[in-house]
C-alpha cells in the first residue's frame, strides 16, 4: 500500500510547463523493488495537462517500472501517487484507466483480423438493443482518427493490413476515445518503425498535446525525444538522474545524465 509521505518536491522535479498549474499526475518518493533488485528508489515525477514528457535512461534504469506504476500494473512499495492533487492507489490498470490514464503497449494489443473500428471499440462496442451500432462505431472512429490527423484509408480495413504507424494510430485512437485519456503513456512507440512511420507517430503525439492531453514517451531515440518532449526525465539505476526542459538542455547533457557524468 502506498503510504503518505510528505516530501518536498525538489526544484528539479517541479519545473512545470505552466507554473501555478496543478500537475495532472504526480509521484512522490516512489520506491519499488523486486526481490533484491531495487528498481526505483525515491523517484519523484510529475506531468501537467498538455505536456509531453520524454522518459529516458539506459536499460534497467527503471523506466518501465515507473510507467507500470503510473498505469496501475505495479503497486509501489512506498511513496505516493497523486492524480489532480488527490492521493490515489491503483490496484490494476483498470483503476488507472478510470482516472483517464491510458497505456499504449509496445505490442499495441490489437486484434489483427478485426477492422479498425472494431479495434478502436474493442470491449466497449456500442449497441442499439442487442445489435452492435456499427454506424456509430464507424462515424466515431473516423472522427477520432481525423482528430489525430491519421492517414488510415478506411476504418473497414483489418488492422493486420496496416503499417506500423497506422497501427500505432489505432491503438492511440482507442486510448483517446474509449478511456477519454487525459494522460497517454507510450512505451517505445517508434522502436519498430521506419523514418516516415516514426514521423507520423511523432505527429500523433503533437496532436495529442494540442488536444490538451499529457503524454509520457519512453524512447531510446534522443532525436525523437527532443522533437516532441517539453521536458525530459532521466532515470539512472532506479534513481532520478535529472529533469531538463528541452530548451535548456542538449543531447550531450542528456547522454551524460543517462550514463552518469563520471563516465565522460
Amino acid at each position: 500500500m502506498a503510504q503518505e509521505v510528505s516530501f518536498p518536491a525538489t526544484a528539479e522535479t517541479a519545473t512545470p510547463e505552466v507554473s501555478g498549474n496543478r500537475p495532472l499526475v504526480e509521484l512522490r518518493a516512489i520506491s519499488k523493488s523486486f526481490g533484491h533488485v531495487q528498481a526505483l528508489q525515491r523517484v519523484d515525477f510529475c506531468i501537467f495537462p498538455g505536456e509531453v514528457v520524454g522518459l529516458v535512461g539506459d536499460n534497467g534504469a527503471g523506466k518501465s517500472t515507473l510507467i507500470k506504476i503510473i498505469s496501475g500494473a505495479y503497486q509501489p512499495d512506498s511513496g505516493t501517487i497523486l492524480v489532480d492533487g488527490v492521493p490515489v492507489s491503483f490496484h490494476s490498470p483498470r483503476d488507472a484507466m478510470r482516472m483517464g490514464i491510458a497505456t499504449v503497449y509496445q505490442n499495441l494489443a490489437l486484434v489483427d483480423q478485426r477492422d479498425v473500428a472494431a479495434n478502436i471499440f474493442l470491449g466497449r462496442e456500442p449497441t442499439r438493443g442487442i445489435v452492435i451500432d456499427r454506424r456509430r462505431m464507424v462515424e466515431e472512429s473516423v472522427q477520432v482518427l481525423q482528430q489525430l490527423r491519421s492517414d488510415i484509408p478506411s476504418v473497414d480495413v483489418a488492422v493486420g493490413f496496416l503499417s506500423g504507424g497506422q497501427r500505432q494510430a489505432v491503438a492511440i485512437a482507442r486510448a483517446v476515445h474509449q478511456i477519454a485519456a487525459r494522460l497517454v503513456i507510450m512505451d517505445e512507440p517508434v522502436a519498430a518503425l521506419g523514418i516516415e512511420e516514426s514521423r507520423k507517430v511523432l505527429r500523433l503525439i503533437k496532436q495529442l498535446k494540442a488536444q490538451g492531453r499529457a503524454v509520457i514517451v519512453i524512447s531510446h531515440n534522443l532525436e525523437h525525444v527532443f522533437s516532441v518532449a517539453d521536458r525530459i526525465v532521466v532515470l539512472r539505476r532506479g534513481r532520478l538522474a535529472g529533469v531538463r526542459r528541452r530548451e535548456d538542455t542538449t543531447a550531450a547533457e542528456i547522454v551524460r545524465l543517462i550514463v552518469g557524468a563520471e563516465h565522460l
Binding site: 494489443a109 486484434v111 489483427d112 483480423q113 478485426r114 474493442l122 442487442i130 445489435v131 452492435i132 493490413f161
Partner: protein, 366 residues
Amino acid sequence: MEQKLSEADLDAQREVSQCGANVDAILDELESASGVELLTRAGPGGLRGFLQALLRLREFSVLSATILLFIALSLATPLFPQLDNILLVARQISILAIIATGVTFLFISGEIDLSIGSIYGFLGIVLASLIAKYGFNPWLALVMVIFLGAIIGLVNGTVTTRFGIPSFIVTLGMLSILRGGALLASGGWPVMIKLPREDPFLNITSGHVAGLVPTQVFWMIGVMVIGGFVLSKTRFGSHVYATGGNQEAAVLAGINTKWVKTINFMITGALCGVAAALLLGQHRNAFPLTGTGYELDIIAAVVIGGTPLFGGAGSILGTFLGAAVLGMITNGLVLLGASAYFEPVAKGSIIVAAILVDTLIRRRRV
C-alpha cells in the same frame, strides 16, 4: 489452444486476411496471362468491383467448391439436381450443420471440442430414456437434454479455461467418458420410444412441411441464422472473434475471455442436445454408439468452411457451405454407385483439397 501465437502463425494470419488486398493483382495477372482485358476498371459498382467483392469474401473458395461440385455431380448423374434429392441432402446435413454452428463459435474463439459426437450420442440415450423409461413429456425432456448439454459444455469450458488444460485433451477425455456413459445408461441396447406416429414431437423434429421440405432443414436454418446473427451483429460475437484473434488484447480491453470460451462450449453442448432430439424423432430409437467418429465430419465442415483452427476468423455461412460440400459428396457417391468404403477416402481428399485451394488463394503475393 491457450498458448500464444508464434510469429509464423501471425504471418499466416496476416496472409489469410490479405486475400482481399491481392485481388487486383490476381485480376491483373489473369488479364496479362490471357492477353485480353477481361474487365474494365470500372468503379466498385462494375463487374470488376463485383468480382473483387466476391474474391474478398472469406467464403469465396468454399463457395466456388460448392458450386463446382454441384455442377460436376449434376453432369455426372441426372438424379442429383432433382428437388427430392436436394432436399434429401439438405436433411442429411441438417444435424451436422447444427452442431457445427456451435463448433464454429468455439473455433473462432480458439478452442476445440472433440467430445461433440459423444455428447450427441449420450444425450440421445438420455432423451430416449427420459421419454420411454421415465414417461417424461418429450418437449420437457428435450429442454432437459439441451440443459444437460450446456452443463457438459460448462464442464469442458471450466476445466479448459480455469485450469489451463488444452481443450483438445479435456474434450478427448469427455469423448471417452460420455461414450461410456451412453453404453452404461443403455446397457448397450438401443432405447426405443413409443410415440404414436402422428405425435407432434415426431412431426416437428423429423416431419415434413407441406409434405415436402423436411422440418430438420428449418431447424438447421433457424439455428444457423441465429448463430450467424449473434456472431456478426452482437457484442458477444465481436468478443468471440477478439478472444480467438488476440487473447491478450481482448483481456486488456476488459473482455472476459474465459467466460466467452466457456459459453461457446455450452452453446456447442446445447446444440448437441437439439441434434440428438432431431435424430431421435427420425429413428424413434436411440443407439449408444450414435455419433462415434462424428466429430471428424463436423470439424471437417467447419474447417472446409474457412474457419481456421487457430481462431480469430470464420463464419457460419462458411460452415454451412462446408457442410453442404460434405453432404453432396456422400450423396453423389451413392448416386454414382460407388462402393460405400470409398466414401471416407473421398471425404478426406476433399477436406485436404479444399484447404489446399484455400491456402493457395490466400497465400498469393504480389
